[in-house]
């Protein structure tokens, strides 16, 4: 009898352990079943299942701002792609603020995304050299040789890390002669400016005076909550590139000084630029909540008359205008011309070799063959064309010289957000791109203002041509020196900068990998 009982106890205890672990395991199983199902389907044969349910691929994409990103699966382009390729993609979107924290964690955790879209060159090179990504060259040869002919070889060459490349590149050849592209500029509420009786500033002095006037006269009646120039921490860098840094000659990340490339941290005007920003901050002209602001906060301030200026890309115009329709129909947005001081002014553009997207397949991806097939299907020239500019006569027209023009508003409705689904771009993308840039009048106006009206101010960053392989040669962790710079900039803007703190910063930055970066960039620059 006693033995029986003991036996029961043993069984019970074991059961407890097992149910405890299994009980919790079960829930996960249920959430993962669809995934597993897809995997099994896939292994059997991708053709068999294509007839029935579309195969599900999991993708991780950056947040490019705008409402389209809220729900990529609700867009008409999404349904079209699913139908055309037979693959259904489930999108996970990185947060707009500090996306790299999350991205690092995901990549490091070996997540089994079928593909990840990266929009940062050093990040791509970093993951590639750490062995987190699959060899794309091999995959293309093995599964989708057609891709090698639709994407230009020169784009792949830029992406080489070590012996091979690990991504499918996407780039936008723009309307400018050198295909460079200016994204960010200082936006201003032209309607408020008019109300204040001022004209668009062209010099740094005028700009500062305008901000001061906004603060002093409070034309929108918001009191102490109003801020002349709203920004996030990350925007400080955009302000440098997008119009303010030019006045100090530091608009470009890298600058050719007597045949040598100098990073912006070491360029002559950088110190003065930070002093200027600090002045704005202490006077309350630059958003006093800047260090804690999120992108959405500045957007909100800008759209609710709390802020006069903020910095953002021209692609944000359509959703911005849409928001203004509900908050303030009379609002008008324009870009401020790069501001001039002592004959210096400018903004920076990156060259075509700075890819928009690096589409990679992580090491743990399960549906490699299917994913490659999906990429290849989207890159078939006719499919690609219809994906990005729609159908002739419905979404776009074509003239005798082969120039495409969008038919509005159908183009915007059908293909307005096609760019977020890009996984590689064909050689014809340049001609389609010009058509896409006109997809929305507000956006095109903003784009041309930055890239053509202010075109004479554009300086192309010579460092943006650098091949990815040089990042792989720098073994030190570049994230360190990058975040160190950001911290220094923010601190200088908020608490002030001294010659001493600047010297300390430079020394520390160099030791964190900056030195090597300069060395490798220049090695490449001189041997080019």
């Amino acid at each position: 009898m006693k033995k029986m009982k003991r036996f029961v106890v043993i069984i019970l205890t074991l059961c407890l352990t097992v149910t405890m672990l299994a009980g919790c395991g079960k829930k996960v199983e249920t959430t993962e079943t669809p995934k597993d199902g897809a995997k099994v389907d896939n292994k059997e044969s991708s053709e068999e299942t294509a007839n029935n349910e579309p195969i599900v691929l999991k993708a991780l994409v950056p947040n490019q701002g705008g409402l389209a990103w809220n729900d990529p699966e609700a867009n008409p382009v999404y349904g079209w792609i699913t139908e055309k390729t037979g693959y259904k993609v489930e999108y996970d979107i990185l947060p707009a603020d500090n996306p790299f924290d999350k991205l690092n964690a995901i990549v490091a955790a070996g997540a089994d995304y079928d593909f990840i879209v990266l929009n940062d060159k050093s990040r791509y090179a970093d993951y590639a050299s750490q062995g987190a990504l699959m060899d794309m060259k091999e995959l293309i040869e093995q599964y989708a040789p057609s891709i090698a002919s639709t994407i230009s070889q020169s784009m792949f060459d830029v992406c080489v890390v070590g012996e091979t490349y690990y991504c499918i590149p996407s780039a936008s050849p723009t309307g400018r002669e050198d295909s460079s592209n200016v994204g960010n500029g200082i936006m201003i509420r032209a309607d408020i400016l008019k109300k204040m009786g001022l004209t668009m500033p062209t010099t740094l002095e005028e700009f500062t005076a305008m901000l001061q006037a906004f603060k002093d006269t409070d034309p929108t009646g918001k009191g102490s909550a109003a801020t002349p120039l709203s920004a996030t921490m990350a925007d400080l860098n955009n302000l440098r590139i997008g119009g303010l840094g030019g006045a100090f000659g530091v608009e470009s990340d890298w600058k050719d000084v007597n045949g040598e490339l100098v990073p912006y941290q070491l360029q002559d005007g950088f110190y003065d630029f930070l002093v200027y920003l600090n002045e704005l901050y202490t006077k309350g002209l630059l958003d006093t909540e800047m260090p804690t602001n999120q992108i959405a906060t500045t957007l909100e301030k800008f759209t609710t008359d709390l802020a006069l200026c903020r910095i953002d890309g021209w692609w944000s115009l359509p959703s911005l205008v849409e928001t203004f329709k509900t908050t303030n129909p009379e609002a008008a947005v324009e870009y401020v011309q790069p501001l001039e001081m002592a004959g210096k002014a400018g903004m920076s553009a990156s060259s075509i070799n700075q890819m928009d997207f690096y589409v990679v397949i992580p090491k743990n991806a399960k549906n490699v063959e299917a994913t490659m097939d999906y990429f290849a299907k989207k890159l078939v020239p006719e499919t690609f064309k219809e994906m990005v500019i729609g159908i002739e006569g419905v979404d776009h027209n074509v003239d005798a010289e082969g120039n495409f023009t969008p038919i509005l508003p159908t183009f915007f409705e059908h293909r307005g957000n096609a760019n977020i689904y890009l996984t590689g771009t064909t050689e014809d993308y340049g001609t389609y791109w010009l058509c896409r840039a006109r997809k929305n009048e507000d956006q095109f106006k903003a784009y041309s203002q930055l890239n053509f009206d202010y075109g004479s101010f554009i300086h192309v960053n010579p460092g943006s041509d650098v091949p990815c392989s040089i990042y792989a040669q720098i073994s030190t962790n570049l994230t360190n020196s990058a975040s160190f710079t950001e911290e220094f900039v923010v601190n200088s803007v908020v608490s002030g900068i001294t010659a001493e703190s600047y010297q300390d910063f430079i020394a520390e930055w160099k030791s964190l990998g900056g030195d090597k970066l300069i060395e490798k960039y220049n090695e490449w620059y001189t041997s080019r």
Partner: protein
């Protein structure tokens, strides 16, 4: 003599062993009770300790512990020579001791005052409210604090401006940030940590007070001579428990409230580890800091416990 007593000791030990064996055999099922717990503690608590070896490596997450190269004490050298580390350590100690020095006496004080409130209903209601913030998550509390501290719309700054002052960016000012951290911790936890002291108060013999009254001792003297001594051992014990957490200066709270402008004053070991490890993927370096933190924490608890055993006869285990 010696030999025989040694022999006897040996006998006793053997007899004990036999008894033990019998006890174990008889209660084998009880030992089975322990299996899930022990398994769990090995898998989720002791296994990570094995991971501490990464601090002696140049860890690459895609190669794992087995294939990452060993670098000896390189990470520790880097750590102890980095300027950052000392500033982080200083912040950690400053915030922790600030909390102990401020929250601790305050909760004792509150316990004593609550004890003075006679009306039962009011007392109960007050206690309910005082314990409440403990049950709000730091996410919510940090949200309240951030809103209250906002330089343009925050209530605190509105008061300051109303009194003719200049608004202060509390969360972006190195002079203020630590104060805000300590104060919000106090707001959230001070009532709750008074519970233990209130309990200790009810354990004090009422006759002591009666006797003191007969002797003509006033209220204040009663508090000083009876109440406080009566709570002394629990105060010491709580102090030691807190001491073990000194390097643990509430990472979650700070992570939710800080920003780069206050790294100088607000970055603590936990947040520093999080940033270098998770955000910057410097796993080995971050692990080295973590090992340092754990070792010092252990040392502090052991010392504290030893002192407590010596002085009050109470220990935490």
């Amino acid at each position: 003599m010696r030999k025989s007593s040694a022999l006897r000791n040996k006998d006793i030990r053997q007899a004990e062993k036999a008894v033990n064996r019998r006890l174990i055999k008889k209660n084998l099922d009880l030992y089975l009770f322990l299996i899930p717990g022990i398994l769990f503690i090995i898998v989720f608590r002791y296994m990570p300790m094995y991971g501490l070896t990464t601090s002696f490596q140049e860890y690459n997450i895609f190669s794992g512990i087995l294939e990452s190269p060993w670098v000896g004490f390189k990470n520790f050298n880097m750590l102890f020579t980095s300027r950052n580390f000392y500033s982080v350590l200083r912040n950690t100690l400053f915030i922790s001791f600030g909390k102990i020095l401020f929250t601790f006496p305050l909760s004792i004080f509150i316990a004593i005052l609550i004890n003075e409130i006679g009306r039962t209903f009011l007392k109960k209601t007050y206690q309910t409210v005082l314990y409440l913030p403990h049950f709000l998550s730091w996410v919510i509390v940090s949200g309240l604090v951030t809103a209250a501290c906002s330089p343009s719309t925050g209530i605190i700054n509105q008061v300051i401006v109303g009194l003719g002052g200049q608004p202060i960016s509390f969360l972006m000012d190195n002079q203020w940030f630590r104060t805000v951290v300590i104060a919000s911790e106090a707001w959230k936890e001070v009532g709750y940590s008074a519970i233990v002291f209130i309990a200790a108060l009810t354990g004090i013999n009422p006759e002591l007070y009666e006797a003191a009254k007969v002797d003509g001792a006033g209220k204040l003297r009663q508090i000083i001579h009876i109440t406080l001594p009566g709570m002394l051992s629990i105060i010491l014990l709580m102090f030691i428990l807190n001491l073990g957490n000194v390097l643990n200066a509430n990472t979650e709270e700070i992570l939710l409230m800080y920003n780069p402008t206050v790294y100088k004053s607000g970055d603590v070991l936990g947040t520093f580890i999080y940033r270098t490890g998770v955000s910057q993927m410097n796993y080995s370096y971050a692990t080295a800091i973590g090992l340092f933190e754990s070792l010092v924490g252990l040392l502090l608890v052991l010392t504290g416990n030893f002192t407590s055993k010596r002085t009050t006869g109470r220990s935490i285990w």
